[in-house]
């Protein structure tokens, strides 16, 4: 088992944002977490990736408990996250963005190398270049990240999340705000990442079409609790899901 959450719960005061969620994920499997707005999807991911501490419950990664660990510790174990809004370094060049990501991958979470020349680390430069080439961003390496078009910013965001060769990648609404063309490109990209890198992907998405195209399994959240978990076909036919998520409309 790659990832397992048991009874994961988060309370903000009176509000229970995540309510006893159990998830299990095998290596190589693609899972999607869906649910209406406010269902607790992003909070669940934040609990797993260490941005928030759960009120109750545990998270296990490869059998090891990682509940309450710092994000950088969790990332170093091979669990990465791509943010919903392009979380990049706007005033640094595209290349610098990739270099910072590569530093985290090559030198661990902390290194006392403040008196060594960055230009002397060939492995860092190499990884940064490889990452940008894979994402088709190498040509734009010298421009500031904030000058990239929106779709490219999102790709840079994904490049940052992939630079460390994660085993498990959370993608938080990777196509939000994209044009249909950009969405298609992104779905292709996700497929390619799965196949070429063997990354296990957890997708948080609204767009049903994308979910059915890229997921092996779907977990449905509603009001913080998991109400269904199964293959796309099972979820499609689940009356409870249709009721909660789609207001009874046939998918």
């Amino acid at each position: 088992m790659l990832l397992k959450t048991s009874g994961l719960t988060k309370q903000f005061g009176e509000l229970t944002a995540v309510d006893g969620v159990d998830l299990e994920l095998k290596e190589g499997e693609s899972m999607s977490i869906i649910g209406p707005n406010g269902a607790g999807k992003s909070t669940t991911v934040n609990l797993i990736t260490g941005l928030l501490n759960p009120t109750d419950g545990t998270v296990e990664y490869r059998g090891e408990e990682i509940t309450g660990k710092e994000p950088h510790e969790i990332v170093q174990k091979g669990l990465s996250k791509s943010f919903q809004t392009a979380s990049i370094f706007p005033d640094l060049t595209v290349e610098r963005n990739a270099v910072v990501a590569s530093l985290g991958a090559e030198h661990g979470s902390f290194s006392l190398n403040f008196f060594k020349r960055l230009a002397g680390y060939d492995e860092v430069a190499g990884r940064a270049r490889q990452t940008l080439e894979d994402m088709g961003l190498y040509e734009q390496r010298d421009i500031k990240a904030k000058s990239l078009p929106y779709g490219d910013k999102r790709r840079l965001e994904m490049a940052l999340a992939l630079a460390g060769d994660p085993d498990l990648l959370f993608l938080d609404e990777p196509t939000a705000g994209m044009s249909p063309d950009e969405t298609d490109d992104t779905v292709d990209l996700i497929q390619r990442i799965k196949e070429e890198r063997g990354v296990t992907i957890v997708l948080i998405e609204h767009d049903m079409e994308i979910i059915f195209r890229v997921s092996d399994r779907i977990a449905v959240l509603n009001r913080g609790a998991k109400i269904a978990d199964g293959t796309p076909d099972e979820i499609r036919g689940d009356p409870g899901v249709q009721e909660a998520y789609l207001g009874g409309v046939e998918i």
């Binding site: 710092e70 994000p71 950088h72 990332v75 943010f83 290194s111």
Partner: protein, 360 residues
């Protein structure tokens, strides 16, 4: 005809572009900044003390180097890492007292004094950093301010027996450099013209060393990580980097630079004023760094020159020099948010566009 003009002008353009490219390559080198600092310490006193407009004097030149070292270290924190400390007087004043006390009770060799000062400031920065870096933004600024004021009142009251309280510490006893070279010893001939005396070599030497060390830090992995933290701290955390430790290192490094400067200031003034720990000193270093231009090595130097010039020379001419300083600060920050150094780099890029003949 049009083809002819094209072939006639293009080689010239590529020549300029080629030269500019080579110039950029040179400028990118670390040794370029260090060489720049060396040329500066040789040329600056001549301009500053001889030209009638400036009315500078050697002692002020040395003081400018001391504050420049302080400001370069402060900019590592403010400009590069994006952390505003409002209590840097602790490291400046604390290290100044440490150097003074060491000279009075043990041995006043200048290099040892600076070493003691640097170690003291680094330890102080480690402790205060551990206590205040857990909070971000304005809370961090206020916590550092609070620690600074605590130290000030400690030095003023409870520790008055050691620090001299309100009178400051007057027992500074500076010995010759390396036990042999008196700081007042002047050089003869060409060396005398260029480097003046041992004292100048000491201060200018530490200035050049500071530039060299700071340039190296900025070009190390830390430089990239510091800038990334300043831009998007959460992202850095999700790249697997321990932001907290990098911030603490930035804070300690910055404190260490302040320590070098504090120790040198004791040697320069032969006295430690209790005001060196006061919050106004913390404010001065913020003003100097922002005035000069944050996020660069030479901006803080430009800021030190402007600030000390107004404080020491203009103040002799105009009674309300603080008003002059305030107006200077407001107009520079208002018109050129990148500070004095931003004006310099702005002119540089205009010139290069002209040279490349960017008509389009």
């Amino acid at each position: 005809m049009s083809e002819q003009t094209e072939t006639a002008t293009s080689p010239e353009n590529t020549d300029t572009a080629g030269l500019l490219g080579r110039w950029d390559e040179l400028r990118e080198r670390e040794s370029f900044s260090i060489l720049g600092a060396i040329v500066f310490v040789i040329g600056f006193p001549m301009v500053f003390t001889n030209l009638p407009l400036f009315n500078g004097y050697m002692s002020l030149v040395e003081l400018i180097y001391v504050w420049s070292i302080f400001a370069i270290g402060f900019d590592l924190l403010l400009g590069y890492t994006g952390l505003l400390s409002f209590g840097h007087a602790v490291f400046w004043g604390g290290s100044a007292y440490a150097a003074g006390l060491f000279s009075a009770n043990f041995y006043g060799e200048p290099l040892l004094m600076v070493l003691v000062a640097t170690v003291t400031a680094s330890v102080l920065a480690l402790v205060i950093g551990l206590l205040s870096l857990r909070r971000g933004g304005i809370y961090f600024a206020i916590l550092t301010l609070a620690f600074g004021q605590m130290m000030y009142f400690l030095a003023l009251g409870p520790l008055g027996g050691i620090t001299g309280g309100e009178d400051g510490f007057t027992g500074v006893a500076v010995e010759p450099l390396l036990g042999a070279l008196s700081l007042e010893r002047e050089f003869a001939g060409i060396l005398g013209t260029l480097l003046h005396d041992i004292s100048y070599v000491l201060f200018a030497g530490f200035f050049v060393l500071t530039v060299a060390v700071a340039v190296r830090i900025v070009r190390s992995p830390y430089g990239a990580i510091f800038q990334a933290i300043a831009e998007n701290e959460q992202r850095v955390r999700f790249l697997g980097l321990n932001v907290w430790r990098y911030k603490l290192t930035a804070f300690v490094l910055s404190g260490a630079f302040a320590g070098v400067a504090g120790g040198l200031h004791t040697i320069h003034a032969q006295y430690v004023a209790v005001g060196s720990l006061y919050w106004i000193t913390s404010g001065d270093i913020v003003i100097i760094t922002v005035l000069g231009g944050i996020g660069s090595i030479f901006g803080p130097v430009a800021g030190s020159i402007a600030f000390l010039y107004v404080e020491n020379i203009i103040s002799g001419e105009i009674a309300f020099w603080l008003l002059v300083l305030g107006s200077l600060f407001v107009s520079v920050v208002w018109l050129f948010p990148a500070g004095i150094w931003g004006i310099v780099t702005g002119i540089r890029s205009t010139v290069r566009e002209r040279l490349l003949g960017d008509d389009s």
